[in-house]
Amino acid sequence: MDNIIVIAVLALGGLGLIAAVVLFFIASKFRVFEDPKIDEVEEALPSANCGGCGYPGCRAFAEATVKSAKENKSIEGLNCPVGGNDVMQTVGNILGLAVDATDPMIAVVRCNGSFAHTPAKVKYEGATSCAFAHALYGGEGGCQYGCLGLGDCVAACNFDAIHMNPETGLPEVNDKCTACNACVIACPRDIIELRKRGPKDKRIFVSCVNMEKGAAAKKNCEVACIGCSLCQKACAFDAITITNFLAYIDFNKCTLCRKCVEVCPTNAIHEINFKPRKPKPESAPEKTVVRKSETVEKEAVPAKEQIEKGDTKAPDATTEVKEDIKVTKE
């Protein structure tokens, strides 16, 4: 009887020992080392998995940062647009590297061809998809560069940051935008661009991407850029270039002086979140009307939320905006 117990214990014990030794060698031979910092970095990221950084998800971005930190001793060129500077600072601390602050960006819709500005000449009744309509024809209003208004950008947004305005037929970006680039890729006409958010969210941009000659552009849309180069002449900072009858403002050079906005004959250059101008005898009232659609987007964001988010915006900045809305609505 004793014998059986001894044999059983020895046999099982021996098997266990052999298995343990084999497993030990296999484990050490095929060991996959994963830097614990990857987990730490991933933890710090916003877990939006939006792909805005250029990597498929936050995990891949974390792996890329850790790899870059190890190999190049820097994480330059890697940026989480959703987390912004705060998150990148945390990531830098984890990896023991200094991180340069980047300018926060926002998606900007560069088309002002609303129903009023580009009256429809034909009626579209196909599938609700900008990509399809783009392959099919120029557009209801006739501008073959302008917004088709079928909302591919809205469908692409994971952050509830872009919506169609049923009154204008154009998409509008709100403050939730994280500059993840999804709408920029979705737009078949390259209308949406990521631009600097600007100090106190002040921005100036050309709200048109029409590359036709002035007369042809103006024929379909009264607020099109006609490439007259008045803005280029007015700009003292070389920020404006004109290619293919279309002005483009380089947001790195722009100093937000607003001179170009004043000279634009078609009101194609938009200024956002500026204080209303002091009424000048001629031009002032007209300009504020044009800015209307752009300023209304601020209305959706309660002032309190912005301050809580730690925006650099002073409380009075939001009240300014509200005043602006009042002025434009009058």
Binding site: A127, Y137, E212
Partner: protein, 446 residues
Amino acid sequence: MGILKTFALGGVHPEENKLSSHAAIEVLPVPKQVIVPLGQNLGAPSKAIVKKGDKVKVGQLIAEAGGFISANIHSPVSGTVLKIDPAIDSTGYRRPCVFITVEGDEWDENIDKTDTLIPEIALTPEEIVNRIKSAGIVGLGGATFPTSVKLMPPPGKTAEFLIINGVECEPYLTSDHRVMLEKGQEIMVGIQILMKALKVEKAFIGIENNKKDAITYLSELSQSYQGIEVVPLKVQYPQGGEKQLIKAVVNREVPSGKLPIEVGCVVQNVGTALAVYEAVQKNKPLIERVVTVTGKGVKKPSNFLVRIGTPVEQLIEAAEGLPENTGKVISGGPMMGKSLTSLDAPVVKGTSGILIMEKEESGRKTESPCIRCSKCTYVCPMGLEPFLLAKAAKLGKFEMAENEMIMDCIECGSCQYTCPANIPLLDYLRLGKLKVGQAIRNRNKK
């Protein structure tokens, strides 16, 4: 007559509405100004070789082929080049066009303007292909694929049969029908030329059985030409599709993603055969074509011989004007045509018809949910599942669409025509093909 041949899978039979089938071809007067788009063919657009102020004659080369799959463009009128500027064309986009102000009607000296039939073919096969290439001939059935490219089979492949497409399965359109009736002799010589160029012994002319007069006439003519046989076909849409026609006539199936030459066939339209005859025997480049102007509300449904570049508006005027209740003006037939966004759009090489549809007829009906009745699957001539592909494309599942062979879709629109829920299946299929095509091209680039 026995049972008529047709293709094996699917197909629909829309109301034929061949309103203009008894209207003889009328020569439309030369317009005051023509707008000749530089991108008229499948493939690369042509490159203009004239400039503002140049004097041109009818048949003079004004734009050269911009690549291997591209075609020359000749001046359809005589006059002065006004400008080269973007203008709206049948694609709905403003694209570069040559504007020519018409002055008189002076033809290039080398063109034989007489009607005498020249049945003897003097040129060698290579010379024929070169002549067709320089004359800028493209497939006149609508796809506008350069004809000369089709006549040069890739190395290792030989053509066995030439199939001439006289099916005209699109409802309403009658331009090919009238060409067969009025230019039968020329078509026969054109076919002989194409047979010589391809070095084939046998040619079939596929004609649907709703054009009995054309079948009888061409059958009679074919007695005196060797190797040409007329094949009457059952009326079934989309029999005019290359792959369907090959299946119907010689019972061969083109493999997925391959060209008809894979099964030894080359398909050409009857209009193309006529253009080939004119180019080879009369030295006349492709400067005019027959266009049907039709529609239920049109007072005088007609077939016009029109110079390329004539604004569509003039064709409609010649057919006694646009009816009041017009909903859409379509370039092409009701199944595969494309609605125009402007009546200033010019007639191009691929314009087979101008269809004017009434509001009630053309408007889309309210869409309701798919109940998986599988009607679209039954009618798909390519054996696809349109409801599945459309859903995949709608939801952005392009990988799935690719695996389900979305690229085999010929965009015939049978699925959308038959769908009882009025789902715009073809729209989503086209969207899917567009996206999958882009993905495949990007993949091949890498």
